[in-house]
Symmetry: C2
Subunit: 420 residues, 2 copies
């Protein structure tokens, strides 16, 4: 009975979202932007109610013994809520991605053809603990004329609910219907499962979180998915790599923010380079307290290195651990990336331009780097103004996804009786 009830509620919410999407698609850019500005102001004004709700989540988290990094992502402050509001104002300032005429032409018979960008319709956002996703994703969805269904992690349920209440209250005096923002308030897993298959009501699912969440959505959803995030990224140090650039980039890609998807997880080192620069590499790794898991050659050369297994090559550490693979040529490096990479971000460090171009042409990933850190795969860093996630799939959108990824196209044909 409980399950059937959830099903009905979630389906009702999805239907409301779809209906609201139709209204939303008719609003002007100004009407949408005004609503975003009102939402921002409301979040700033009502921060205390959000902090109170957040406290409930924090207490529950402490009781459950969550680790410090997790608690840090969960914790809100007045300043963080002000950042949410500023984020909404930034999104309001961006160009409206809908209503853009991609191309237009006339057929010989006079039929006018216009290809124009339109909202996707209803976006289902499935995410883990971070409450900022509730605000960011809602802002991006509404700006691009889409309704959104929010299914956040249960550990942030009170925070998310409080945020959505503030948003709903703010929307009530704007042109955007409140129903355009649906919050799944049950923590029942069944609710998520229902979202997976509601093809009639939901146009796309966007999972944001760890590999297991993303895989669960990809494996089970019949609604189309925008797959984001898992980054098993490699830095390949070629025979002709400049040692200063190589170490600077490796350290940045590994240690700047080890827990993010564009951090490096494996360094692949050409054996000739390694022979010439072994002590530099060892000193650098030691200095930055990077723990090495190496192949046989690496373990023999690098003090304290642990032997690496399949798990090391295929997983994200998201920590200061680093897998070290040694190769005799660039082809071996490309083959290794081909086998274990997640098509996110891959870098080659070399002064050999031909090798760099071959690497960037042959490696199959969303972002390829020559002599730069993989950390730049990020909508903010690339100047997109906002990011809904980083796509690791090839269809629709690849790499950091800004507002245009939340649109599709329509062909509008205007005639005066044309037939074939």
């Amino acid at each position: 009975m409980a399950i059937a009830k959830v099903h009905v509620n979630v389906e009702e919410q999805a239907k409301k979202a779809k209906k609201a999407a139709r209204q939303l698609s008719l609003l002007t850019s100004e009407e949408k932007d005004e609503a975003l500005m009102d939402m921002a102001e409301a979040l700033e004004n009502e921060y205390q109610s959000i902090l109170n709700a957040n406290e409930s989540d924090l207490q529950a988290g402490i009781a459950k013994g969550y680790e410090a990094a997790f608690m840090d992502r969960l914790k809100l402050t007045k300043e963080r809520i002000q950042d949410f509001a500023e984020g909404l104002r930034d999104v309001a300032k961006l160009n409206d991605p809908t209503g853009r005429i991609v191309s237009s032409w006339a057929l010989d018979n006079g039929l006018q053809v216009e290809k124009v960008t339109v909202p996707l319709g209803v976006i289902g956002m499935i995410y883990e603990a971070r409450p900022n996703v509730t605000v960011d994703a809602t802002g991006l969805a509404l700006k691009s004329g889409n309704s959104i269904i929010l299914k956040g992690g249960s550990s942030a349920i009170h925070s998310n609910k409080a945020i959505v209440e503030v948003i709903h209250a703010a929307l009530s005096s704007t042109k955007i219907p409140e129903d355009a923002v649906q919050f799944i308030s049950t923590t029942d897993r069944e609710a998520t499962q229902q979202l997976f298959t509601m093809k009639e009501h939901i146009d796309v699912l966007i999972p944001r979180g760890g590999a297991s969440l993303i895989n669960s959505v990809v494996q089970n959803a019949t609604v189309p998915v925008l797959e984001t995030g898992v980054g098993n990224c490699h830095i390949y140090i070629d025979k002709d790599a400049d040692p200063v650039k190589a170490m600077k980039i490796l350290v940045n890609a590994k240690t700047d923010r080890p827990a993010v998807c564009n951090a490096a997880e494996t360094v692949i080192v050409h054996k000739e380079w390694l022979n010439s620069h072994l002590s530099l590499l060892i000193d650098t790794l030691n200095e930055h307290q990077i723990a090495v898991h190496g192949d046989r050659t690496a373990v023999a050369l690098i003090p304290n290195a642990l032997p690496a297994g399949e798990e090391d090559w295929s997983s994200e550490y998201l920590s200061l651990d680093l897998a070290v693979k040694t190769v005799g040529n660039m082809e071996e490096a490309i083959d290794h990336i081909d086998q274990y990479g997640t098509k996110h971000s891959e870098a080659i460090i070399t002064e050999n331009k031909e090798n760099a171009e071959t690497f960037m042409n042959l490696v199959d990933a969303s972002a390829l780097y020559h002599n730069a850190s993989t950390r730049f795969t990020d909508g903010g860093a690339l100047g997109f103004g906002a990011e809904i996630g980083i796509s690791t799939q090839k269809l629709h959108a690849r790499g950091p996804m800004g507002l245009p990824a939340l649109t599709t196209v329509k062909f509008k044909m205007r005639g005066n009786g044309q037939v074939r």
Copy 2:
């Protein structure tokens, strides 16, 4: 045992296709075009071997008692094979969709960012009886730098095999590796199932055929799918429709080629228009031998009309049958399309421009028509030069898909040591 064997073979073929895709991605446009021209010549030269194989399929089809329309799609002639060759030459003449710089910019730190189109990689084509798909899809895949795995219907197995043998022989003296074209020669359904889940080797599946084939792929595949084709298209005759345009467009959309996806299946008629033009509508339907399945009002007014049920509103007839729905206003028409349409092609006939724009804005479909036939939703008719199918999904590609739908993008970043 047999199933395991098939699995291994199909997986081996998929691996070969993936490896070939890497080689293919490095070829120049000229090298690919020359190979297409050689394929065209070989098909013309070797037409007799293809016709011999086709005879086997035709004999088997007669034995199985297939209907005439099916046999006609299956049957090849020297002229049809020459058309295949001409089709390849036309594709060779199109612009290469890969290697196009979509945008490029530099960050303040000097990092050069380039967003460039690249092949998808490996395309899995799952289709029914028509042997022309074997040639068309292969030409489009190779032109866009992709390997292709062909899984055609068992009724055309001999024809398809003979065509691929000719293509393989032609490719052997070109820069395109033969392995770029893989033909699944078993008719075992298990082989198709294997293609559904080979995410490591196949980048996209494109099903072409009837609704049950397409649904089977969409429901069961974990490989991303480009959904094509099912078209439950509507013509809405508004209160202010010009009667001459309305009848000309309705007749064309219903009768020009009733079995194709952009044919009309339901006409939605405003009751005021119907009152004024009832005899014209009845005469037109009679003249073109269109069989009517109507709602209560339509059945009461149109002689010989059968009552329509859920099945009539929700399915494609693909014949000279037509569902007739009557409405009191445009909103009812839009609601009906929203409930039963397949987001393919929808038309409004009216002299009221405001209504036309509202209809085109609110109806969620790939192609919206004002005063023109839905039959124009076709890559050829719209001047795309070639078409891999008509997408009814919103992600990646919508509407008729030309060569660009077979590409994705890569971000290439060129730096000199940039870190974040």
